[in-house]
């Protein structure tokens, strides 16, 4: 059912012409990575952080990407989140070829297709929860009233309706992470991309956040969690293990 199929036929029908190059073929998957390489030049030496990574994520999946530090999982996360572009290979997100986009186009994709959740929350310290959640909408050009409405809904969805006017330093770690999740979801992204989302939280709060992820998944969100913790990865439905810049294992566990 989750087989990665290239939907070039479908696209041809839409565009209405048949002479498309193979690289323009749009996969049906929400995320599709094809032979992704990321190479850093350090002095005279070339370091391959990723070599030849390929995988697909379908809409509605809950995927964990796991690997030890230095495995290339952070690099992979930056690529998935469109913070960076691959040295080689092709990457489609929601039907858009990202690999060769410029900075501004990437910013647009980050704004509309990706919702980030970070280990250290990365909220603006001086802004209220509400304003933090509104931020992606500001850069999306949403009008003030609509922005307020959406941000409130998003905060209510993570049970923080009563903390809208609080600043991050007035919130607990778990609450801060929930604000970050509300911010990630507010623009209806294609994927929720979480980087060690419980890394800075205690066990109990971690458990709460993971429950929230499960709830969001059940509501139809696509979630990718990058972690090095087995028990966090175990909550996902599919685990992709990275080692030495390559996919070691890609297994469905649920």
């Amino acid at each position: 059912m989750t087989e990665a199929t290239l939907a070039s036929v479908e696209k041809d029908e839409i565009i209405g012409r048949g002479e498309l190059l193979a690289r323009d073929a749009v996969p049906a998957s929400l995320i599709s990575m094809r032979d992704i390489w990321k190479t850093y030049v350090m002095g005279t030496e070339e370091v391959h952080a990723l070599h030849g990574v390929s995988f697909d994520v379908q809409k509605g999946e809950y995927v964990a990407i796991i690997g030890p530090s230095g495995s290339g999982k952070s690099t992979l996360m930056n690529l998935i989140g469109c913070l960076d572009t691959p040295s080689k290979g092709q990457y489609w997100i929601n039907g858009k070829q990202v690999a060769e986009m410029d900075d501004d186009e990437l910013a647009r994709i980050r704004n509309q297709e990706v919702g980030f959740v970070f280990q250290t929350f990365n909220l603006l310290a001086r802004a209220t929860s509400l304003h933090n959640v509104e931020l992606p909408l500001i850069y999306a050009g949403v009008s003030a009233t609509e922005r307020h409405e959406k941000a409130k809904q998003s905060l209510t969805a993570v049970d923080l309706a009563d903390r809208m006017m609080h600043k991050p330093n007035e919130l607990s770690g778990g609450q801060r992470q929930r604000v970050a999740i509300a911010r990630a979801l507010v623009n209806n992204p294609s994927i929720l991309l979480a980087d060690e989302p419980t890394g800075a939280l205690d066990t109990h709060t971690s458990y709460e956040i993971m429950n929230l992820f499960e709830k969001l998944h059940a509501e139809g969100n696509t979630i990718i969690v990058v972690t090095h913790e087995q028990d966090i990865a175990a909550r996902a439905h599919r685990v992709i293990s990275i080692r030495d810049g390559q996919i070691e294992k890609d297994e469905r566990i649920r």
Binding site: I14, A28, K59, N78, D104, A107, L123, Y139, A144
Partner: protein, 451 residues
């Protein structure tokens, strides 16, 4: 149950995907333009909000930055306002006489060199006979008055005032100089002809030797001028100050009385008034001819042997003095604005470094380079414009204090206020570009890693 759930989800997916693809492909450019123009408005407001929040969060730093701008703008505004006030005073003072009056004196009003002083000192005095000749021969002249002055100590009872302008004046001088009597009367022609010891005084004299008595009270009282007793017959209406100097500290006595006391050895001034400005040149020519003739000057001798001047001489000197002040002020302003700009740039660079993480967060959630650039540029412009506005207000306050002290009207110019804020905002843009550009170019991954 699960089957149907999956199916509906897939249906919905297909629907949204199809929708996204079809709605996006036909006209991507128009959609982008629309989105980005909307984006600018909301991001612009966000930029202002962030700018104010950041300026408020770093009060000390903001204050220091502001000072850099305020000083320059305030200095310019103060000087410009003061000069405009002086211009107004000068214009109104001299237009009461208009350019229909010129004077004939031994020396010019302003002597610019030692050589000129020595040369003009050798000239013959201007005498009563010269005045009579002008009266007799100048057909274009309308009013011809004579005046001669020195400085004297005046006394009343035990009160005294030193260095008071004491002028002997012919009666017609009151018409030429448009002086009005506030209380009492002017001396009569017969009093003048007889050389009587009568005088009219300026209102400062009331203050200085009559303990602030009203003009009416002093009429008929005695005033000792240079040890000689005079009867006050009138008080001249208040004339106010010019350049901080009062024009009301004087004693006027009849010309004949003055010469009776001090003799006729002092060079006098002849004041000539013509009916209208267009008669001025003709009258000047006639007077020059009469005077040169009396001094035996041939046509090829360059020096007249006397000075023939209108107020234009004074206005020219005033004009060149103030234009120099303007130039110096512009120089000072330029330097201080450059310094202010460097301060703003420095502070903005610190601000960018300090907020690297924030920039990373904003970029991660979709801020484009242009958004970040705009944010920091607006912050720089905001601080510079606020500095400019405070500078304008400070400048006006300074000018106000000086105008109170020196007694000239305060002319608040909207143009200079707008210019002050405008120029400092421009400085803000110029000095904000480089820091803002650096912020915009930050790599989001690197920036997110910053502490």
């Amino acid at each position: 149950m699960k089957e149907s759930d999956d199916e509906t989800r897939q249906d919905r997916d297909a629907a949204t995907r199809g929708q996204k693809l079809t709605s996006q492909r036909p006209a991507p450019s128009s959609r982008r333009v629309f989105a980005s123009s909307r984006l600018r408005v909301s991001a612009l407001w966000e930029s202002f909000r962030v700018a104010f929040a950041s300026l408020r969060a770093n009060k000390m730093r903001t204050a220091l930055t502001l000072i850099g701008i305020v000083v320059g703008v305030a200095a310019v505004i103060a000087v410009v306002t003061i000069i405009k006030g002086l211009d107004q005073t000068v214009a109104s003072t001299f237009s009461s006489q208009g350019s229909t009056v010129f004077t004939v004196t031994k020396r010019p009003l302003v002597i610019t060199s030692r050589e000129q002083f020595i040369q003009t000192n050798k000239r013959k005095d201007v005498t009563n006979e010269d005045a009579d000749a002008i009266k007799r021969l100048c057909t274009s002249c309308w009013r011809i008055g004579t005046a001669v002055g020195r400085r004297e100590t005046i006394k009343h009872g035990d009160q005294k005032s030193e260095d008071v302008s004491t002028r002997g004046m012919s009666l017609i001088m009151f018409d030429i100089e448009a002086l009005n009597i506030d209380a009492g009367r002017l001396w009569t022609e017969s009093e003048a002809a007889a050389g009587r010891d009568v005088c009219v005084i300026g209102v400062d004299v009331l203050e200085n030797v009559f303990g602030g008595a009203s003009p009416e009270r002093v009429v008929g009282q005695e005033l000792r001028v240079g040890g000689r007793s005079f009867e006050i017959v009138g008080v001249v209406q208040k004339q106010g100050k010019i350049f901080g100097f009062s024009r009301d500290n004087f004693v006027f006595v009849p010309f004949e009385t003055f010469q009776k006391i001090y003799g006729t050895r002092d060079s006098i001034a002849v004041y000539v008034q013509v009916p209208a400005a267009e008669n001025l040149e003709e009258a000047e020519d006639q007077v020059r001819a009469v005077m040169r003739n009396r001094r035996g000057k041939t046509f090829n001798e360059e020096d007249d042997g006397f000075a023939l001047e209108t107020q234009d001489v004074f206005l020219n000197i005033y004009g060149s003095a103030t234009s120099n002040i303007y130039l110096v002020t512009i120089g000072v302003a330029a330097i201080s604005l450059v310094v202010g700009g460097i301060v703003v740039m420095n502070i903005m660079l610190v601000s960018v470094t300090e907020r690297t993480k924030e920039i990373g967060i904003r970029k991660a959630i979709g801020a484009r380079q242009a958004d970040i650039l705009q944010q920091f540029l607006i912050e720089a412009v905001t601080v510079a414009a606020i500095g400019g506005a405070i500078g304008v207000l400070t400048g006006f306050a300074l000018a106000y204090l000086l105008s109170m002290l020196m007694g000239f009207p305060l002319l608040i110019s909207i143009t200079s206020a707008v210019l002050g804020v405008g120029v400092s905002s421009f400085v803000g843009i110029i000095s904000g570009i480089w820091p803002a550009w650096r912020a915009a170019r930050l790599d989001p991954i690197e920036a997110l890693r910053a502490e």
